[in-house]
């Protein structure tokens, strides 16, 4: 896959210097095109061809996520991203408070590049065989919660919700997870899905990846405990599917349940969730 890298300029924090270094190393290791964020901001035309010919990797330094926000503001399709601050946490390294690249910064940049090169070589997270969407029939009837000119749909049955607007639909010992129509509308168009890793085991209310829109970064709070057995590759490549069909084709992950039905005690049924949504919509 041919790639282009858009990174932080690296002139505000040490994490930024690492992002910038990772971009340079991606150019060396994987022949990626480097996109200068300042120049891109000044002249999209300069990079039109590069963007048309390559998949875009975004490397942000810190959670301000300037590079991501720039890409979003220009409506660029992001294929992969890395947040150096997160990579730093999982590496256990510490960075010196300087903008010059130090030994640890260089090591971290290399780890990031190795991870990217590896993920580019591996095929996209596949849907394991035998878990086609036909096993989960589409949602049936909906309850409708209205507020002002908005309408929020909630499937009448088969779905359970946590108060963080994430649904679970169990079927035997597996379950699908996604976000509610209410949350999908609050986030507006979702432009990036950071899905959890396959085989990740998660506790109830643990983190199952994040979704990003121009308005927010949303943490998917697991409604149930389990192990990730499938990631919906269609929403990873086309995140607005979540906006279009939040309870059906917009499912995010499939879990093997580890503590059902006990987990259900802490979840809301459709009627209770409808009340919660009404309350949230009135407060917002």
């Amino acid at each position: 896959m041919k790639t282009a890298v858009l990174s932080c300029t690296g002139l505000d924090k040490p994490e930024g210097s690492v992002a910038r270094e990772a971009a340079i190393r991606m150019a060396e290791a994987a022949n990626s095109e480097i996109i200068c964020p300042v120049l891109l901001n000044r002249s999209l035309a300069r990079y039109e061809k590069v963007l048309a010919d390559n998949s875009l990797i975004v490397v942000d330094g810190c959670s301000t996520r300037c590079a991501s926000k720039l890409a979003e503001s220009l409506d660029l399709k992001i294929d992969r991203k890395v947040l150096v601050a997160d990579a730093l946490k999982s590496s256990g390294l510490t960075l010196e408070p300087t903008l010059r690249l130090e030994t640890n910064g260089a090591a971290l940049a290399q780890t990031i590049v190795d991870g990217l090169v590896q993920s580019l070589a591996a095929p996209a997270p596949a849907q394991p065989s035998g878990t086609s969407s036909t096993e989960f029939p589409p949602p049936g009837e909906y309850l409708i919660v209205t507020h002002d000119k908005f309408e929020f749909r909630i499937p009448v049955s088969d779905y359970w919700f946590n108060e963080n607007d994430v649904w679970v639909r169990p079927l035997g010992d597996v379950a699908r997870i996604g976000i509610s129509d209410y949350m999908q509308q609050s986030l507006t168009d979702i432009n990036f899905v950071d899905a959890p890793a396959m085989h990740l085991s998660v506790e109830q209310f643990g983190e199952l990846g994040t979704l990003e829109s121009s308005k927010a970064v949303f943490e998917v709070v697991a409604p149930v405990a389990g192990t990730v057995i499938a990631v919906n590759s269609e929403v990873v490549s086309n995140p607005t599917l979540i906006n279009e069909d939040p309870y059906g084709k917009g499912w995010i992950v499939q879990l093997k349940l580890s503590n059902w039905p006990e987990d259900r005690e802490l979840l809301l049924n459709s009627d209770a969730y409808a009340k919660t949504v009404k309350h949230k919509a009135e407060e917002a």
Partner: protein, 95 residues
């Protein structure tokens, strides 16, 4: 008014809100502009931002910390909070 509950427990009994590390905060106000629940408030003086309404914070949400460049916002431990909530739910159901 005790209408606000989370998982059947009165909201004010659950400790869940961001804490600002004033050594790190640059008062960029990204978090305050981001959160729709009026958890943060801007003030005069040195500490120009405070967590004024901790109980407005949505339990288990950590979204504002994902907008904070200097990583100045922290939250309680989730598992500990869940354990706490479960315990309170049991007390409520016994009464």
């Amino acid at each position: 008014m005790s209408e606000a509950t989370f998982m059947g427990v009165p909201r004010e009994k659950i400790v869940w809100h961001p804490t600002i590390d004033y050594q790190k905060c640059t008062f960029c106000m990204e978090c305050a502009n981001f959160c729709p629940h009026r958890v943060f408030e801007q003030r005069e003086g040195d500490r120009r931002l405070v967590v004024a309404n901790p109980n407005n914070c949505v339990v288990f949400c950590r979204a504002c910390s994902k907008t904070c460049g200097p990583d100045a916002l922290s939250f309680p431990d989730k598992q500990a909070t869940i354990a706490q909530i479960k315990q309170m739910r049991e007390q409520v159901s016994v009464q």
